[in-house]
Subunit: 127 residues, 2 copies
């Protein structure tokens, strides 16, 4: 799992962009956004760097359930909310969720290392 990374302005810009937004965009959105500053950045570079950052644990991949893939510059584990109307993906507050991994561990014959809880419905704007 060791990696010998070098810096590149493309990767740094991608990571900063992802940290600066409060929703969780797709690769394509990030690409379009980055083109404003790096007009000839390649979509392949975006994907490559998203993969690298995922492996480093700097960001995570979120699969929304409608086939689209979103990315999130995580700080801590948290839950996501997906609006069925505007399709936005945002963080939500679910205090009880912190105990769920333990509950699963104790009630099932498995070892839980990770979980993702996604809720769907209508966001504050669309409801």
């Amino acid at each position: 799992m060791e990696m010998n990374l070098k810096h590149s302005k493309q990767r740094d810009a991608l990571f900063e962009l992802l940290q600066s937004v409060n929703n969780h965009p797709t690769a394509e959105w990030l690409y379009q956004e980055l083109k404003k500053d790096y007009s000839n950045i390649s979509l392949a570079t975006v994907y490559r760097n998203l993969a690298v950052l995922c492996q480093c644990g700097e960001i995570i991949k979120i699969e929304v359930g409608d086939g689209t893939v979103h990315y999130d510059a995580v700080n801590a584990p948290h839950c996501h909310f997906i609006c069925g109307k505007c399709k936005s993906v945002t963080d939500i507050d679910v205090p009880s969720a912190v105990n769920l991994n333990d509950e699963v561990n104790s009630l099932n014959d498995v070892i839980v290392t990770d979980s993702s809880l996604v809720f769907r419905g209508l966001c504050s704007k669309c409801k």
Copy 2:
């Protein structure tokens, strides 16, 4: 949302197959399996019928998080466990999960209609 469905042996076989298995297979797996009885069934038919059954609410789509899509002949809402080693997708028991939608509703400015909770780790065989 109304649909004028007709029966077809392909669709019925697909649905029965999905109900008969205790894990949650992919479109490709279902296709391979169905070919044993319907040697010239088309993968497109499998996808089309999976889409129809999803719309009817007879089955659901599960996105595992590694990009693969699985299908589940639901009876009731439940949680999923994905083994990081053998990649199997199975149901697990998480009693507290039943209250989470309400918790999200009351603590966030959204309307929750649906949720999916997936846990990852090692299954009983692989651990």
